[in-house]
Symmetry: C2
Subunit: 288 residues, 2 copies
């Protein structure tokens, strides 16, 4: 396992997540970060800013110098990219990704890789509103949860390597779980809040005047409604089973509210809020 | 219209909002702020910190020295307080409040006041998670929207006075509208986001492990789930008609999501998200 300074990274896709990886790695002392991006202007900008050291856009063979290849494209672009570029990879390259949906993608990637290559699938639970390199920031990783997909076919030393890098760039916690567990948990903790934000701001109650009457609750509840539709259409469709299950559970809660309001059931309203308050505090500040 | 330094304020209820008023007014140079609170310890603390100059808890006659009385109690306590204490008020006192629900409360207060007194009902759209004096902060007003209820019975100079004070403590914008308009807009911009936050964290998907898998979207979406159940039970019940209408509109949006996911309707998903993104950006950054 090489030290960060000596590890050669390649980052494919210099968007919000890929760009943030480049910035975080270089800020922490990575000596060499090869960047590759669909839009060449972005690569030039990242190189100009010093966050990547080499551009592979027109020189895919540069990928062959990377110890670790971080794939940060959209879900739909990942498998085709590996299929078309695996011929350039080092024979013992370690691949990782940052996708918010796993499904059977890890196994589809495995099938494309050479025998000594290893795909350690990961999901840094980091992000922010907006999209693209311009929104990227090394700080999105600070204290973030970092998920590694538990797969028997991975070599332990490679899993440890990815884990150490996650901690090095500032992540607070690394958790391992299966692809299936990942997708079902993410449907609740990430997909559902995004749907709720979009639904709130898309309500027919929204109008030109609304902005004069918002306070922090509405602002926070709609922050991620500033969403990257290209990326998230992929994510939602690939995870639609678990997402539909989460929508049903949300519905159950909203029905309880309706019933309590219609029947003026003060006790139930109070109890639902007390439960929520305790859960929120336990979650972010620990039991007390 | 007196200057801030020369105006004598009374603040009744030194909780999150009342405490924040005391801090903001004193920080901006108010010379005299009389505080009154159910729990005497809080009054002592506020006086010790210099955010109130006098305590009226055992000396309600002190209220008679106030030019402006800011009532920042819970909705259920407001009318009884005025009924019991109007005898102490200056004969030309200006009353204001901070309640998130209006209904017919302004008229009920009018009926209790002397002929030269004036009730300018207001709602600073400011707050934060948690409750109580300990959570109060002068900063909650910074850039906030401040609503004044438009009522023909108010004297214009008193409305201007309250308006100037709102701007003085940092509010960004003062808007006037009727009680009915207020309640229906607030059901959307404030009540609904609070219900959504509570519902998200109360979902049966929530468990001890959830905290390992949250990113910013879940954190923001549940911030106000740390809710003051005593206060909000009053608010929700007093505004239940408009709140139920908002729940129906939210439901309409969630049904669109379900349908699009079930039918794998990529275009509709993309369009819903694009609409949300534009709305969010227009709302917080203006048309672009």
């Amino acid at each position: 396992m090489k030290k960060l300074e000596d590890t050669v990274f390649a980052i494919v896709g210099l968007g919000l997540i890929g760009g943030s990886y480049a910035k975080a790695l270089r800020n922490r002392g990575a000596g060499r970060v090869i960047g590759m991006n669909r839009n060449h202007i972005v690569s030039l900008m990242a190189k100009n800013e010093g966050y990547i050291t080499d551009i592979a856009d027109d020189q895919p063979e540069l990928l062959g110098e990377a110890d670790i290849i971080i794939c940060a494209q959209y879900p739909g672009a990942f498998v085709p990219f590996v299929r078309d570029h695996v011929k350039y990879f080092r024979k013992d390259a370690v691949l990782t990704d940052a996708m918010g949906i796993k499904g059977d993608i890890p196994e589809r990637i495995d099938a494309l890789l050479g025998p000594e290559m290893d795909f350690v699938s990961a999901h840094p639970m980091a992000g922010r509103e907006g999209r693209g390199y311009g929104q990227s920031s090394s700080r999105i990783f600070e204290g973030a949860n970092f998920i590694i997909i538990k797969r028997p076919q991975n070599r332990r030393e490679n899993v440890e390597w990815i884990r150490d890098i996650a901690l090095e760039i500032g992540c607070g916690r690394v958790v391992e779980l299966t692809a299936k567990e990942h997708d079902s948990i993410i449907a609740y903790t990430s997909d559902l809040p995004h749907i709720m934000a979009v639904s709130l701001i898309n309500s027919e109650s929204m109008n030109e005047q609304t902005k004069f009457f918002v306070a922090g609750s509405f602002r926070d509840a709609t922050r991620v409604a500033d969403i990257n539709a290209d990326l998230w259409t992929d994510l939602f469709l690939l995870n639609r089973g678990p997402v539909l299950a989460e929508l049903d559970r949300l519905e159950t809660q909203l029905q309880k509210w309706k019933k309590a309001l219609v029947t003026e059931d003060r006790e139930t309203l109070h109890r639902m809020m007390d439960t929520a308050k305790s859960r929120r505090r336990d979650m972010f500040y620990g039991k007390h």
